[in-house]
C-alpha cells in the first residue's frame, strides 16, 4: 500500500497533482523511461506501480480502474498488452529511479525513472553466486592436487635454503648476545646471500 505523501501537493492543488501524476505515468508507459525531477519521480512511483499491478490483473474491471487514472486508451492498451507480460514474474518494484544530477536553471535534482522490463533473474543469479564459492573450493581441491607436485619440488629447495640460512642464523644468534644490533644487521645480508 502506498504511504500517504507528506508535504504540499505538487502543482496548484490536489486536482492538479492528480493530473500531473497521471500524465507522467502515461509518459512513462509510452516511453518506458522519462527524465523528471526527483520529487515528481518519487510521487509518480506508487501511482505507476499501482497501474502496473492493475495491468497484471488484466481483466475488464482492472482496465476500467486504470482508465480512471489515465484517460488515454492507447496508453492503457499498451500497458495491458505489452508491459504487463514483461513484468508478469516480477513481484513489485516495477520502476527504477536513477539520480542524474542537477538541472541547469533552477538546480532541481533530476532523475531518470524507468520501467524495469528486464526478465527476473536476480534470485537464480544470487543462488548461482552462492553456489560458485561452494563449487570453487571443490574445483580448487583437484587443482591443488595438481599443483602440489610443484610445492613438493619447491619445499626441498626452501628447506635447503632454510638449512643454509639456519647455520648463518645460528652463527648470528651466537653473535647476538655479544652485540645485538650488528648481528641483526649481519643477518639480513646472509639471508639475502642464501636466497
Amino acid at each position: 500500500m502506498a504511504a500517504p505523501t507528506k508535504g504540499p501537493r505538487l502543482g496548484g492543488g490536489p486536482a492538479h497533482e492528480r493530473l500531473m501524476l497521471a500524465n507522467l505515468a502515461a509518459a512513462l508507459f509510452t516511453h518506458k523511461s522519462i527524465k523528471t525531477t526527483e520529487t515528481k519521480a518519487k510521487r509518480l512511483r506508487p501511482v505507476a506501480e499501482r497501474l502496473v499491478t492493475l495491468a497484471k490483473k488484466g481483466d475488464l474491471h482492472a482496465r476500467r480502474r486504470a482508465l480512471a487514472t489515465i484517460h488515454d486508451k492507447t496508453v492503457i492498451h499498451e500497458l495491458f498488452t505489452e508491459i504487463a507480460p514483461l513484468v508478469e514474474l516480477r513481484q513489485g518494484g516495477y520502476t527504477r529511479i536513477t539520480k542524474l544530477g542537477y538541472r541547469k536553471g533552477d538546480n532541481a535534482p533530476m532523475v531518470q525513472i524507468e520501467l524495469v522490463l528486464e526478465p527476473v533473474n536476480a534470485q537464480p543469479k544470487a543462488k548461482a553466486d552462492t553456489k560458485q564459492p561452494k563449487a570453487a573450493p571443490v574445483e580448487e581441491a583437484p587443482a591443488e592436487d595438481v599443483t602440489e607436485e610443484a610445492p613438493v619440488e619447491e619445499t626441498p629447495v626452501e628447506e635447503t635454503e632454510v638449512t643454509a640460512e639456519a647455520p648463518a642464523e645460528d652463527a648470528a644468534a651466537d653473535e647476538a648476545p655479544a652485540d645485538e644490533a650488528p648481528a641483526a644487521a649481519a643477518e639480513a645480508p646472509t639471508e639475502d646471500a642464501a636466497k
Binding site: S33, K35, T98, K99, L100, G101, Q112, E114
Partner: protein
C-alpha cells in the same frame, strides 16, 4: 501593516549575513584509468569517449539516460 520601528544597524545585518555559509558537497573519490575522479555518490556518471565527447549517462554498468 506592521513596519520595522528602527533602521537595522550595519552590525546586525552583517552578523546575520555571517551565518550564510556554503557547505562542501559530499564527494566520492575514485581512480579511473589512472586519473583521480571526484563524483557525487549514488548518481549516474557521464561516459565519454577518448576524445572527451559525452556519450551517455551510466549507473552501475547500465546505460541510464542520454546526456
Amino acid at each position: 501593516m506592521a513596519v520595522p520601528k528602527r533602521k537595522m544597524s550595519r552590525a546586525s545585518t552583517r552578523m546575520r549575513r555571517a551565518q550564510w555559509k556554503a557547505t562542501p558537497p559530499t564527494l566520492v573519490k575514485s581512480i579511473e584509468n589512472g586519473k583521480t575522479v571526484y563524483s557525487l555518490p549514488h548518481h549516474a556518471k557521464v561516459v565519454e569517449d577518448s576524445a572527451g565527447t559525452p556519450l551517455y549517462m551510466e549507473y552501475k554498468g547500465r546505460k541510464v539516460a542520454d546526456v
